[in-house]
Symmetry: D4
Subunit: 249 residues, 8 copies
Amino acid sequence: MKTEVRTILENVKNGDMSVEDALLKLKTEPFEDLGFAKVDLHRKIRQGVAEVIYGASKTPEQMIGIMDTMIKNGQDRILITRLSPEAAGIIGKVHSIDYRANARLALYGGLPEPTGIGNIVVATGGTSDIPVAEEAAVTAEVYGNKVVRLFDVGVAGLHRLLAHKEEIMEASVIIAIAGMEGALASVIGGLADCPVIAVPTSVGYGASFHGLSALLSMLNSCASGVSVVNIDNGFGAGYLGSMINHMGV
Amino acid sequence: MKTEVRTILENVKNGDMSVEDALLKLKTEPFEDLGFAKVDLHRKIRQGVAEVIYGASKTPEQMIGIMDTMIKNGQDRILITRLSPEAAGIIGKVHSIDYRANARLALYGGLPEPTGIGNIVVATGGTSDIPVAEEAAVTAEVYGNKVVRLFDVGVAGLHRLLAHKEEIMEASVIIAIAGMEGALASVIGGLADCPVIAVPTSVGYGASFHGLSALLSMLNSCASGVSVVNIDNGFGAGYLGSMINHMGV
Amino acid sequence: MKTEVRTILENVKNGDMSVEDALLKLKTEPFEDLGFAKVDLHRKIRQGVAEVIYGASKTPEQMIGIMDTMIKNGQDRILITRLSPEAAGIIGKVHSIDYRANARLALYGGLPEPTGIGNIVVATGGTSDIPVAEEAAVTAEVYGNKVVRLFDVGVAGLHRLLAHKEEIMEASVIIAIAGMEGALASVIGGLADCPVIAVPTSVGYGASFHGLSALLSMLNSCASGVSVVNIDNGFGAGYLGSMINHMGV
Amino acid sequence: MKTEVRTILENVKNGDMSVEDALLKLKTEPFEDLGFAKVDLHRKIRQGVAEVIYGASKTPEQMIGIMDTMIKNGQDRILITRLSPEAAGIIGKVHSIDYRANARLALYGGLPEPTGIGNIVVATGGTSDIPVAEEAAVTAEVYGNKVVRLFDVGVAGLHRLLAHKEEIMEASVIIAIAGMEGALASVIGGLADCPVIAVPTSVGYGASFHGLSALLSMLNSCASGVSVVNIDNGFGAGYLGSMINHMGV
Amino acid sequence: MKTEVRTILENVKNGDMSVEDALLKLKTEPFEDLGFAKVDLHRKIRQGVAEVIYGASKTPEQMIGIMDTMIKNGQDRILITRLSPEAAGIIGKVHSIDYRANARLALYGGLPEPTGIGNIVVATGGTSDIPVAEEAAVTAEVYGNKVVRLFDVGVAGLHRLLAHKEEIMEASVIIAIAGMEGALASVIGGLADCPVIAVPTSVGYGASFHGLSALLSMLNSCASGVSVVNIDNGFGAGYLGSMINHMGV
Amino acid sequence: MKTEVRTILENVKNGDMSVEDALLKLKTEPFEDLGFAKVDLHRKIRQGVAEVIYGASKTPEQMIGIMDTMIKNGQDRILITRLSPEAAGIIGKVHSIDYRANARLALYGGLPEPTGIGNIVVATGGTSDIPVAEEAAVTAEVYGNKVVRLFDVGVAGLHRLLAHKEEIMEASVIIAIAGMEGALASVIGGLADCPVIAVPTSVGYGASFHGLSALLSMLNSCASGVSVVNIDNGFGAGYLGSMINHMGV
Amino acid sequence: MKTEVRTILENVKNGDMSVEDALLKLKTEPFEDLGFAKVDLHRKIRQGVAEVIYGASKTPEQMIGIMDTMIKNGQDRILITRLSPEAAGIIGKVHSIDYRANARLALYGGLPEPTGIGNIVVATGGTSDIPVAEEAAVTAEVYGNKVVRLFDVGVAGLHRLLAHKEEIMEASVIIAIAGMEGALASVIGGLADCPVIAVPTSVGYGASFHGLSALLSMLNSCASGVSVVNIDNGFGAGYLGSMINHMGV
Amino acid sequence: MKTEVRTILENVKNGDMSVEDALLKLKTEPFEDLGFAKVDLHRKIRQGVAEVIYGASKTPEQMIGIMDTMIKNGQDRILITRLSPEAAGIIGKVHSIDYRANARLALYGGLPEPTGIGNIVVATGGTSDIPVAEEAAVTAEVYGNKVVRLFDVGVAGLHRLLAHKEEIMEASVIIAIAGMEGALASVIGGLADCPVIAVPTSVGYGASFHGLSALLSMLNSCASGVSVVNIDNGFGAGYLGSMINHMGV
């Protein structure tokens, strides 16, 4: 950014650019010229990895259109989240996708080689949390991480969790996913020595209040190193997990 | 109860009691004559054990008066809960009491010998939960139970809890007390094979919302055999624990 | 458990097992060898009683598969809760089950003889609470308890409840199930002298807020000996009731 | 009211009042002249009964000033609610008042003879509810009702309530006051055959959430004839009770 | 009631009834013999009026069965609330009913002559509140009250409400029904001088939170004489309104 | 208004109107004669602009009937909000309407020329907020405002918002519409120097709690000049925006 | 703003400023030079009006320091909100301020002449709302508006409000301030034809839940033209009111 | 861990340890011998860094005792959080501490050299958030991070935040701390390309509901890479920030 503004200024000094033009340029193109670097960095970071489409509120036709544009622009890896089987069926007739029904997402262009610091462990309290967990896991894989899945290791059967102590101890990042009482995040947070991303799920009934119970439980975790994302936000956890697992890489 | 109503009826039959008197008796003393057995059973159960005074909204003078009456009626063991040190000081000048500052309760007449099936384990997540835990523990002791205290064994440091696996496995009843995320109840419920009484506490800050987080967490416990009492209700947990530990005794 | 670890150690001492093999065994089978006794006890307790399948989030095919495995392993009694009539129809073509439409559960292998201390009374405030009540009642029966059903004895018509005073006074455990204002638990808690497990239900409308009103009401019960499980959690209440009714047995 | 407007109109017709004056009068004194009858009725109803001052947010000096005005205008009975002992002390030096510390209210001019249809029963679940109950009771008395107090008859000890079945059955209106689980309103609503005004109180701790639990419980009452006022609103209940007890009188 | 118990006692005295039979009678029929007068009074009050069936959770067949029994026992007026058009169609083939689609209720046996002190005004804030209002209005009519309907007189168009000032001033009881902000109850409470029963409705969207906004608003009404029933509880308001309108009658 | 009451009074004075007739007139037509000017002003303001029908709870037939009446009375512009495509299809067969599917509203009579002080900017955080935004925008247009649409300028991509700094700085009124975290209102409120009307939407999932999160966020905005309307209330925002944009016009 | 950036550019062109200095200037003072116009506009608007200090979390010394700086920079009018009497006393020793105890704010430099379109009416439901109302009123006055105060005109006494119909009808903007049920905003919104800014207050008890009841009520207002600010936010309402009252001025 | 268990086994094999002793060792010291590696890792990680004491619920004497033990065990750096000035004064007489009043914490042993990947930016919305921010910042510093403080850069004055775009773009981890509407996290999350830890604070009034508004806002952030910790949990954010900033180091 500095360079660009300096260039404008030097052009003005040299008479290569009129004051009017410089003024206009500084005012009308703020995010390209004044440099919200994120745009550029973002673009760079994503190169060769994946572009994401949030499928929940889009028609299959809209998504096909977006994919067309992306592919035309050289994007060779696309992730579509919250995608119904029906919509996947329609899209699949146009583009070659790998639809994961249990995660309700589709992959275009396959998974890249893992490049992160270590493994991302994705653990769930029960089997009903798996859709959210798969969204997190595949997101992490799409962004270049090796994922270890530990499903159905809820704290009510501690031995199942402790049987995987080693994977937990060796993880680079752990994504702990649970509904109901959400205690998994605290227990894992106490065992592990790496950042733990807690994802409350809307799994449960009665006083689970659609994930509120798990959410509050996770926010109150006594274990250090635990932070929380929105209820059922598997994508957000997978993305943040990847970000942390690529720190300094 | 049956006997008493029968006696009245037989007295009427025999002419020993007039219809008017019987009618009056049946109408005016329902809970003694028509037999809400609880009163009697209650009395029996409490014999030699303890009468309880809820001290929170009473003046020292009122409590001394109640104690006077109880003692005059032969009660030789009294428990006063939610008692401030100041009030305890005033009462202590009149009656010989054992004040437990960390539980904010006082004992008159000492503790009885334990008579229950087994031990009641009272476990807490942290040290701040100890006042509630002591209220539960001393209540259980006053009602004739052997109590094992496992304080500060929260799930964020699982090894501390697991170091006491044996006490947990051998308990007759467990009272699991925790604030913040309240995960202790689920973890203990998963380890133990006895009834677990969960007590959420108001310990915490922020999104603990004065115990709501722990309460919801405990109600959603995936472990079987867990039930919940009101936030900070140590007495209720101790009383219920004693009731269960004396089943069939 | 102790025995098993000792055996391994003795085998190592005797040279019957290499250090590597022992290490592997201790590491890879922690919940069988290192002994989270619950597993074993659990197994013992359940012998001849019942294995439970939570049917809510499983396909009929999955449930048939689980049943196959259980039956092959000698399990002769299975309880499937939260089972739709449609799923029951499919399962019923493969395994001989007794489907209880009003409790939305199925039994395989029939009910055992009662073995508990006394009766478990299952009481409801209204007729709409019956599905939850039947889930509790049949669960208790499957675990070997004699159940007395007192349905539609809500506190707004106190005479209906008091007509059953005797059953209430004689119960070993009472499961009080109510939606709306949930006052049943307190009234029964005041009448009875045994543990009362309160189950709030989502029955109601408006300010019942899907069971929240009954839940709060039950948590605030002034009667001693009352504890609460999750909204609509009939199974949990039946299981805990059985546990308490088998104390010391 | 009709009369007054008619008088103005007739004065205009007769030339005793100019159109301008009439217009002004109709415009500037709408609530006296255009007749929101409530004002007049209100005045009538209150005659010889009592004027009320809500003391919570007023200084003793302000209250003395208001009393001065009222007394000067012929008011011979005044009720001051939510009045601290300190403020009462200051007022008592100027006006002769009867301060009821347990209801935090003061009476000036004493109580009138009862004039209602029957008795108003004021019942409380516990002793801590008495301040609210006394506010309701004295308010009802000030408005000319005979009040029967049934304190500490909570549902956890049903026999205490049933011992007063007769007072309940014979009441004209019942004010049921309770904190914690608030079940009293439902049980009384089921026993009685008269309107029941339920007053939740902020008495309790933990999941009582400052009266929310009792409030929801009372709103969900299955008993017919029950309605609810704000938490701790003893005055509102006493006033409405009096209104109902004077229907058709 | 007194008479019946006396009769039993006199029969015992006279030898016309054995002690055993009397004991059995007193024990097994407590609500008829021991006299929770409500039953009797209730019956008396309802004579010639109506029996009510809450249709929400019953099948048409169950309701027909209940109606058969009622009619056989001489009941000549029945009200079925929360009845779907489909269920009404089925019932209508067996019993002659008057189905009111806008109130979702059915009448069997027509409406009685009004017998109350005065009129019950049923007012609504909007047209969407009419189903709840009609439930309240028809309930009041079935119990013998003259009902004045003031629909769509919400406070946002105050002139519409004030156009009916006279009906409001002359009412014996007012039922104020509103969703959204629920201000109608306060405004009417300020205008009228009779008891106002406020019914919040679930009409609205967004921050109305299914009636919570109107409920809280009504509970906080600054107007004296206002009390509140559950959200959408038209029947409860109509029943209580009738009770008040028959005070002393 | 003044004029009318004066006329009545002068007629009375002149003997052109009897006292009785004047009295009747003053009493029975309060909102026409006593002058709640709003009615008149309202009528005037709307002339040539638009009448609004809230379509959510009306049948197509009812809406056609209302339109018939309006058109007969000379109304040449009608806006129907919350209108389903199906209902629009039926209405469209009778009246010539312009149905906007993305706003779920229909226009009859087209849009007027803009008459306000300046532009109303309607901005949204995401594409899912567009239905609410279009309701606001078209409402503003129907009431005579020039509208600038800035959709999908959420704060997570600040450069998109800043690219439109000029439109924001020059706006007369801004309507900021967002679900999820609702931060758009604060950021725009900080940039702009005109009134900002914030509209939370129910867009989101999990802890958005159907718009509660955005609502609270907007109410807590640190930026001056921001006020909030109900969740999803596009019409209300558009109407208020128009009102402000016509101040002093 | 444009001017300043242009000046820099022209200076660079003319060689009066080096590229380095221009770059530094553009980078280090972005909000002055790169022109988020708000700053400038803001400055203009405030000229001769007032600078505001939010006193709640500042020490008297900090506030004196801020005032010193402001005054030195030519600011001749300062408003300090949420200022305790104690802090005002300390500040008053250094700067000449006009402290308004009932609004908990202080004025330095007096009030300007009103310049808005019309009057801003500030109305309150009760006398307890006056502190918030005075904060709103004085804020509006400080920003150059004529304010009409209508205090204690709550809807429970509609005649008091209607007595001021004329002020309401003639207002340019109305600020409706109420706690408890918050109905004032809807009623005024229905009467008036100008923007209404609703301010819920934390006045009340019990189910007012510290202003939540009034807040929800106001958000659900059926009247068009009503928007809402945060609970007790008198300043925000006064500021927005002034903004609207100066539209096009 | 593997090594230790192996050593025990080899000792048993070699006869250097009896089976009994090995059994005892394996059973009684589970967290040291059976290897919850966290303990060890934890110890290692902390070497030369800092031990933490949560001061909120401890007496100065207890804290001095804990410090004594720590120092005796070679700990040369201690952090005490949530420490009142009074307690700090007492501790300061025994141990040499650096008390930071604005963060309510004390340091013993000074700060270490930074060792992380990059800078941790700690940003706050307002000046009232500084205590939480300083707790986060000093925690991060104690764990070996370079911290950049950006205080009072709330989104309502976007230019202040954008003036620090460079620090934000270059950060390794950002801790975004805000009360009220909590929008800071989203805006920063949109600008930055590193993990953002959002800390809601209880700063605010009215509808901020003690941090709930900010909490929900942050959980709903549309920006990727944002996760949330408990309200006011500065320590947790600082600790997690350090953990992330040391990934792979």
